[in-house]
Amino acid sequence: MTIPPSNPRLNPSTFGSSIITRSFSAGSGFRFGFNGKEKENNIVFNEYTFEFRIYNSGLAIFLGIDPLAQKYHMISNYCFASNSPIRFIDGLGMGPGDRVKAARTLLGIPYLQQTEGKAHERTGVTPEALKYVDCSEFVCRVLKADDVTTKVESMATPELKTYLSNKEKFEHTAPEGMPQVGDIALWDGHVGIVSALDIKTGKFKLIHAAGKGKLANENKFTITAKQYRNSTFYGFYRPKVETKDGKDTNRGTTVNNAGKTSNIETNNGSTGKNIPASNDTNTGSSNSSGGSSGNQSQTTQN
């Protein structure tokens, strides 16, 4: 959340504590502060009552355990916004969450590279166009759903590499660097969306259209880039300026009459830990949306 410095009421630091050189005296009856939460000064100063627990902005920790501690077991159960309040903020913050959500709406779609006569189906939003995806079409649809592009672009992996190499628009992390959730992982001939990572090893889960005969899936295990694909790995890309999370991520990824359903995980805004599926090693295939893998199994008979 970016708080305008001109606002005389709210001038907290990134973790919400008061800045000493600035003072504010609330008018009568105004009780709210950081993140719009009610400020409580009766126990210890600088405490805010979030829906599920109390947050101490001076210490930058919650005073109670995260109700979703079991899910986010890899980080402290008391930290605020994964200790990255600039990157992860609240349910209405800016972030890469919509890319992960949009990618999950495409799970279960069979792989097919549509070229030449059917190239238009790479960009359309008709039931026919969404019947199959290849890996680059998959990512192009995700970029559209996250408003990174204004329409579903028709880019194969070489064009995606050129597009993502625009340093004014995209940040790049080298192949040996640490990815972030929502990143676009790009190989020579393959591309996908990072949905979770192991922060100790840098191994990551990928949501991708894996190849001929496969359904678009979220990988069950965190593995290295080389274990995904033994070709040149170019690294991880993300927009320099993230769009606002909370969009309708079905745009460009589903159609109303296609019979698809989406199983989108909601943000954990109320706990103050807003990491849409990030660092979650258990999301795995259980999040398979589309719910159509069984129906889409194709039978070929000689």
Partner: protein
Amino acid sequence: MKIINDNLLFCSCVIFISACLGSPEKRQSKVNLVDSCKYIKIDHFCVEPKLNLEFNTLIKSYDDTLSLAVCGDYVYYPFGQLTKSSEIATSRLKNFKVINSGRNGELLGIKHNSSMLQLCFTNNSESVTSSYIIGGEINDSDVEFINGIKIGMEISDFYSKLFVDFPPQLYHNFNVIVLESCVNGIRHIYNFHENKLFSVKFECKDCNLRIER
């Protein structure tokens, strides 16, 4: 007398210092350092998978089933890497006969005695692998896997193919060993009966192509 006392004092100091310096080394030499990253803990035993298996995760090690996620080539190409269907004739699957096919030869059903495999070949540049096993079952002892695994082998020999010094105490704990690929959802299910490899089943969870028998 004073010289003797000085010598005794000197000797005592030397012995004391050498004892102090020596003992940590002796203690240290008794410590076995274990790199826990390389090992799996099964029933209080540390088990080390072979390096070429590229072990990733211990999925399950109870109820008679040991299930591991591995990333090595073996789980994708248990009979060696095949890039096109014509290579079957010169591979470890040379005894298999094509019984059906689909999608212009991209899908092949092959059979040998009571063993059967369904293979998918792809020249698609975006695919993670050039070919993979969609499904099937191996029941015949003359079908040999690339690392020497074959039907009828003793469970101890089987473990020696996958692990470095698998504890003998665990030989009889598991009748089903599952290897799951890190990506693509390919599973090998090794079934043991009376400590001998009885059958190997292949499944592909993320595949959407099938050849009807």
